[in-house]
């Protein structure tokens, strides 16, 4: 098989990929550049006399932000799975009446611009005192993932044989037991995909962070980068170093969970 595949396509593929990923390379390159070399013209295409100063700055200044983002990301995963998995079970296997309408509403929900949701949440949070809090951000961020997650779970669970439920019932297991003992373990891959995207979207969120958490002490990493850009535009190596660190989850996920990523893109096809 492989022998027949033309090598020039591989070469061309490498060129295309290199072009596409060049900005990513450039980010890494700048993050390793000495501050004095940042304004060189032309810039160094490779990190000659590289420095880790940028990363040192990240460690000194951005650790709390990274921790905040991690907390928000994990909180979002838990909340999303807690709501979406039972809902998928209800829609996909138990065939809740009105599921068509509900599915439709979830599709519509994905089309609502985040900026609109942000204003609505702001208006609510102002009164409830939830501005600048981590739970507030977790809830707001989860609105990106929940409709996607329910649709994903539903699609998967609808494909499970319903006889299985009946068999469970014959054995004396109730709906709850069937859910936790049979359906959830079988849906492991859906859960991984859901968790992955819920985390990534919460981690990457900028709109909710910049609106609902403008004056908080604990800011997520995206806002950390944004404030950085606003404050000291001279230290682009530090900004890019933060950006590299903020990209780590995406890189890890791509390496460890590539097939789940691909499954998620085609399944929900949602990103703001």
């Amino acid at each position: 098989m492989t022998a027949k595949r033309p090598w020039w396509k591989t070469v061309l593929g490498l060129v295309f990929t290199a072009l596409m990923l060049f900005p990513v390379y450039w980010m890494v390159n700048v993050s390793l550049t000495q501050t004095s070399d940042l304004r060189r013209n032309p810039p160094n295409l490779f990190p000659v006399n590289l420095t880790l100063d940028g990363y040192e700055a990240v460690l000194q200044q951005q650790l709390p932000a990274l921790g905040t983002s991690l907390m928000i990301g994990f909180g979002c995963v838990v909340l999303t799975v807690l709501i979406a998995a039972p809902a998928g079970y209800s829609l996909g296997l138990l065939r809740l009446r009105g599921r068509t309408t509900l599915t439709f509403l979830l599709l519509v929900a994905q089309m609502i611009p985040a900026v609109v949701m942000a204003m609505g949440f702001y208006a609510i949070y102002v009164r409830l005192g939830l501005l600048n809090t981590i739970p507030g951000l977790i809830v707001a961020n989860s609105t990106i993932a929940v409709p996607f997650a329910v649709l994903l779970y539903t699609a998967f669970m609808a494909g499970l044989p319903r006889e299985m439920l009946q068999a469970a019932r014959v054995d004396g297991a109730g709906a709850w037991r069937a859910f936790t003992a049979i359906v959830l373990p079988l849906s492991r891959n859906s859960t991984i995909t859901v968790a992955l995207f819920a985390f990534l979207w919460a981690w990457s969120d900028f709109i909710f962070a910049s609106t609902l958490n403008r004056n908080g002490d604990l800011i997520p990493i995206t806002l950390g980068i944004f404030n950085y850009i606003g404050n000291n535009t001279t230290q682009w190596n530090a900004i890019m170093a933060t950006a590299v660190v903020a990209s780590v989850p995406a890189a890890v996920l791509l390496i460890l969970a590539q097939r789940y990523v691909a499954a998620g893109v085609t399944a929900g096809a949602v990103k703001d």
Binding site: T10, S90, L102, N189, S190, A246, T266
Partner: protein, 321 residues
Amino acid sequence: MTTTQPTASALSPLRGAAPPPGPRRRPRVSATQWTALGFAAPLLAYLGFFYAYPLWRNIDLSVHDYNVRAFVQGDADFVGFANYADVFASPIFVTALTNTVIFTLVSIAVQYTVGLALAVFFRGSFRLSNTLRAMFLVPWLLPLIVSASTWSWMMNSDNGLINSVLRAFGGDGINWLTSPDYSLTAVIIANIWLGIPFNLVILYAGLQNIPGDIYEAASLDGAGPARTFASITLPLLRPVSAITLLLGLIYTLKVVDVIWIMTTGGPANSSVTLAVWSYREAFGTGRPDFSPAAAVGNLLIVIALVFGFLHLRFQRRQDES
């Protein structure tokens, strides 16, 4: 493995979600239905509190005259559609609308074309093709702030890489982000880069669904690559293309972060879109003006929903066929 591929078939996320309605009986609500309702209850409560209520608040904002004080006390004056009228009358409205149309159409047209070309390229697999295709996902997975700030630095007037390349070839540097003539182009370029992976993945999945024997038959009949593309690939890919373009449209309409991070809509509104305008009114200035912002936001919802319904109709038709 097979389990995570609810739609390895094609892009119809809901193929399994909305099974064709069976014969409609009307039994009394069975025990199973109560159980089903119980399992769906968290979602229903969630949608009520965290979707419906914020949206309601947003409509409420748009028909009142909210300032910061009224915001906290909740005693804003009811003004009906005055905010909407102000929005339409504002000189920014036409600029924002024009920019939105240009930003959206150019973005999705180029993303789709490049995505399709790459999907066709990756179709005949070759050594490393799967790995390289996975690498193409990177821009899509990175936090937007990361991509946007990287592009900002690359497009920096004095020290940006792009300008130094232009100068090396004897051209003049361009003020990508600071000139009203180029800011929209600059954010479109970055946005295209961000959207290519999505188009590639979806269109590639669509291509996988075209049976290989059709291509074999075509090549036996002596059809060249161009002919094959025009007579087989494009027509058979049409439903997937329609969905890709519509989803692209819906997602591009609501883009705020890329533009806000790179240009904040400026200079002089040259890269303001409706979504950015709404964001700026509410959160981007020291003096938040929520009511017009909410009005613009609701306008955006209406536009998104129109295309959203189009998308759903397409998908339904595709599922039926």
